[in-house]
Point group: C2
Chain length 300, copies 2
């Protein structure tokens, strides 16, 4: 671990989106305030998607109104958008950091967006340009980069070709997402090595799900591969509603605990992250899969 | 991964020993039969300890009676013993493969055995010699090798000194156990590199707990470090009653899934392991932490 590792909590989006119990806006705001107090580098506040399809995200504008002007270089408030309508809503809500992605799996792409990978890439790149013109930053991600719940293995060449399109369009904040949780540590190292070859100057992020119990092992492999930014969810909440298997997310506080034992990110307040995980656990009335938040304070 | 990786399921011992609900002997036998059907390399059938302290292990003799003569080079039936009385009982019960260990943590050693590390090592080596004289095989382990719930960090020099004593006494099947789950992947690689330097001809095993969500990541680090044998528990059941934090075990079927995706151990029947995990889950009436067994069969 040579450069500063960045932590991007996406629990308010990728954690909540599959939950059937709607979290009231005031609670979302309180959880985000506590996430910000932890001093992670970025907090994803929600997504601008069809509220009929993802009702949990229907109040993202209201959440953004509360945090207007709070996004800063120290702690970025981000949002996910899937299409032009979402981008328009996000820009209107004052979002200055967008996450957008294209699935390397043709089937996943069609189920998620109604378009195949090629068409989706063209559209996302145009959206990313619109966001940049509006002075927002953009992280472009390849979803299902390590495998797909529908298609199984995804050839690395498909991932590299998508990354090449992003790079050719001038984007350099890039991410590989293991949307369905199929990644294996050796594959993580190999694929990040390969895409870094295609885009040596890019800044890399990653996103892992724990479907097969490998989220943390894959994050460790990504650390070794020089990936700088890690998406994770408080308590390990989450899953993806558009994949066949909905694995939970890499757990933010468990990952931060690892970093801190490696001598990194002592500035992040794990207690604040644990608080959000414990609060969410109480709200949903079931244990969340993360480990650190469940350990009595005297032991942690 | 160059050599054949061995899987040793210890769920019947390290998984069950903390469970308050006693598993009836007939059920234990059924679970062990299914574990044997999975074709893992070794199954720990129980421990010979004080039944007043660990009531769950009170029927280990009865379990052994059922499996008399079933231990073979293909699938070894093992047992844990902590003292001479336990060894005597184990030999009388026909066990031909013993696991014994000494804690590198003075505090953990005293709480677990009433003796400090040095005295415990002398005693364990004498016990190991007795077992070998009785034609049993022995795996000698350093417990709390990566940290301790009571003492915190454990100096690598303490671990290496214990390994040196085992080697000097002529033992070459050795293990490092992360009893409290404090290990970090870089530490796992470094410590195994160090002990292999001290005992280049030994065969190495490892044992990880998921206290901080790192069991699988540590197992991956051990794979990279050339460790050959992996102790794990079906469903990820378990924890250690003698440490301050009782983390669950590395999950056998999740680890086997990783191996199989790496092109290894296609001969192990993951379905049989999943069966035991699902059966134990139903018996204890709560979800176990392993992932694979909870995925609908069509998806796995």
């Amino acid at each position: 671990m040579t450069s500063r590792i960045l932590v991007h909590d996406v629990g308010m989006r990728d954690g909540l989106q599959v939950e059937r119990t709607i979290v009231p806006t005031e609670r979302k705001i309180a959880w985000i305030e506590r996430l910000l107090a932890s001093r992670v580098d970025a907090v994803q506040v929600g997504s601008f998607v069809n509220p009929r399809i993802v009702p949990q995200m229907a109040d993202t504008e209201a959440v953004c109104r509360h945090f207007a002007g709070r996004s800063s270089p120290r702690t970025r408030l981000t949002a996910l958008v899937l299409n032009e309508k979402g981008l328009e809503r996000g820009l209107a809500a004052g979002i200055d950091a967008f996450c957008m992605g294209v699935s390397a799996s043709e089937t996943h792409s069609r189920k998620n967006t109604g378009m195949g990978t090629e068409e989706a890439a063209t559209r996302i790149i145009a959206m990313a340009r619109t966001a940049v013109e509006a002075r927002a930053s953009v992280q472009l991600s390849v979803q299902s980069a390590f495998g797909c719940g529908y298609e199984g293995a995804i050839p690395a060449t498909r991932v590299i070709a998508l990354i090449q399109r992003f790079v050719d369009a001038g984007f350099d904040t890039l991410s590989l997402a293991d949307t369905a949780g199929h990644a294996m540590p050796p594959q993580v190292r190999a694929l990040f090595d390969a895409v870094r070859g295609a885009a040596p100057d890019a800044t890399w992020a990653c996103h892992f799900h724990d479907t097969y119990g490998l989220a943390m092992a894959n994050a460790c492999a990504a650390l070794e591969a020089g990936v700088q930014s890690f998406e994770a969810a408080f308590g390990g909440l989450g899953g993806c509603p558009f994949t066949a298997v909905a694995g939970t997310n890499l757990c933010t506080e468990d990952f931060v605990h690892l970093l801190q034992h490696g001598g990194q990110r002592a500035d992040i307040d794990v207690t604040a992250l644990n608080d959000v995980a414990c609060t969410a656990e109480a709200f949903f009335g079931r244990p969340l899969p993360g480990k650190l938040h469940a350990i009595p304070a005297v032991e942690a």
